[in-house]
Symmetry: C2
Subunit: 258 residues, 2 copies
């Protein structure tokens, strides 16, 4: 069975998309076959991997709306071993289109279960929008674990307990095998005492749930998407790249020990 | 009539809440009477203004659900002239609770129209969640203008055209007097070439719509919420405070010329 990992946090701008793109690229660089599903109508993961707007006609929206088979929505990125199901802006209408479908939370899960291509991937990452909405619940229902990027800022800490409650609720009602795989501290700045304080607090309360690797704030990370490529390709030697490569190794080790 | 301003951007983490809190505090410091409506289930504006969780029982959720009159949801903050309608986590369920109400987009507008207290405020700011969802549409329908905080980053630029299309749609179908008041460049870092590039691009395309004042990235801004106060109080001399005080003057001048 592949690892299906939902990347969630309802707080905006904490590094969900950046982590989806760069962790996936780092894992594909060491030979793992990776799929990213862009489940955010903003389509930032699709842009950050260089998918032109004209190539997003067969997207996760069409697959969820059942107008194309799921396998047809998968396309290769410029990187070997890295594939994507892009998103397009139609996705923002899905919540009201499915309002009266009582099984809406399971639609993505059943698409993945019925797909033959899915089984060929080692890891499947689902990039979620900044809300505890239907799209995020769909992702949590289809996934076997949740990765939580947490920006080292005060407001970001505030939302964590709400997110953990939502994961518990989905685990009880929709997906018994769901668990929080880990928390990734992002945009860490060791010169900033608030950043250090948040990191210390989170490690104290959540201990082994927090990955050892912290992602530093690094301007090369925010430049990479404007070139349509992950930072591990755009500037492999940068601090941001090195951190995502280290995180990829940490995740592989954690999974190999299961 | 009061100025009702919705602070919107579906891109997460761009400074919507930070702008709502600090612009409101700066205007209240020069004697304007200000109300903030926290329309984000995360409740960051309520936290950033020191509203304890125990004081959020009468929130925007109860007013929208019509279990209390709107005027009862207004409370004073620690600052003279600055009032807030807090939010609580119940708000995240409002979209599905109102799914079958065909007038749902107008609920907030009619609460404000029927309120006697509202007319005593000079400015009313509505802090929106990071999504083009029902809550954001409600805010745009109730408001007479939209302020758009735009982070000087590549992904933030991508969402702007979608946001402008949504404002146009609300203006045509729900609220003919709605217009984009202006775009505020946030987290600007003059040492970072991407940040400068984004600022140049936005000013070229949107010219007079972009406020002259740019908000610099400034660590004191991100520290202030952990003390439950706006940065203009926490550290008045900081670069962040000075920028928000300047922006407040720019907004007053713009409104006085109408
Ligand atoms: N380690 C980092 N160093 C510097 N900038 C970063 C880093 N990680 C992310 N960023 C930048 O911060 C911004 C927010 O990151 P990103 O868009 O990945 O967050 P998100 O959680 O996916 O946002 P949303 O909630 O809108 O989906 C982006 O402009 C991104 O380029
Ligand atoms: N000028 C600034 N300098 C430094 N940090 C800032 C600045 N403006 C905002 N921040 C910090 O950046 C983070 C994001 O800002 P904020 O929460 O206001 O954005 P938002 O758009 O309201 O996010 P959301 O989409 O989750 O509602 C916060 O931790 C905030 O403290
Ligand atoms: Mg994202
Ligand atoms: Mg906010």
């Amino acid at each position: 069975l592949s690892n299906i990992i939902a990347i969630c946090n309802q707080k905006g701008g904490v590094g969900k998309t950046t982590t989806a793109i760069n962790l996936a690229a780092a894992l594909s660089a060491v030979g793992k076959k990776i799929l990213i599903i862009d489940l955010d109508p903003q389509g930032n993961a699709s842009t950050g991997l260089g998918v032109e707007y004209s190539n997003r006609k067969k997207s996760i929206y069409e697959a969820l709306a059942k107008s194309i088979p799921f396998d047809e929505s998968i396309q290769q990125t410029q990187l070997e071993n890295l594939y994507i199901v892009p998103s397009n802006v139609e996705l923002s209408g899905i919540e009201s289109e499915l309002a009266n479908d009582k099984d809406k939370a399971f639609i993505l899960k059943s698409l993945l279960n019925n797909s033959t291509t899915i089984k060929t991937f080692d890891y499947i990452f689902i990039d979620c929008p900044p809300a505890l909405s239907l799209l995020t619940v769909m992702a949590m229902t289809a996934a076997n674990s949740v990765l939580v990027p947490l920006q080292c800022e005060f407001f970001a800490l505030e939302g964590l307990s709400q997110l953990i409650k939502t994961v518990d609720r989905v685990q009880k009602n929709l997906n018994p095998e769901l668990s929080i795989d880990g928390i990734i501290l992002t945009m860490f700045d060791k010169r900033n005492k608030l950043s250090t304080q948040v990191a210390v607090d989170v490690k104290k309360h959540l201990q082994e749930k927090v990955f050892d690797t912290m992602i530093p704030r690094n301007v090369r990370v925010s430049e990479a998407p404007s070139f349509g490529m992950p930072v591990v390709i755009y500037d492999r030697k940068s601090k941001g790249s090195q951190a995502y490569l280290k995180l990829a190794n940490e995740i592989i080790k954690k999974n190999d020990n299961r």
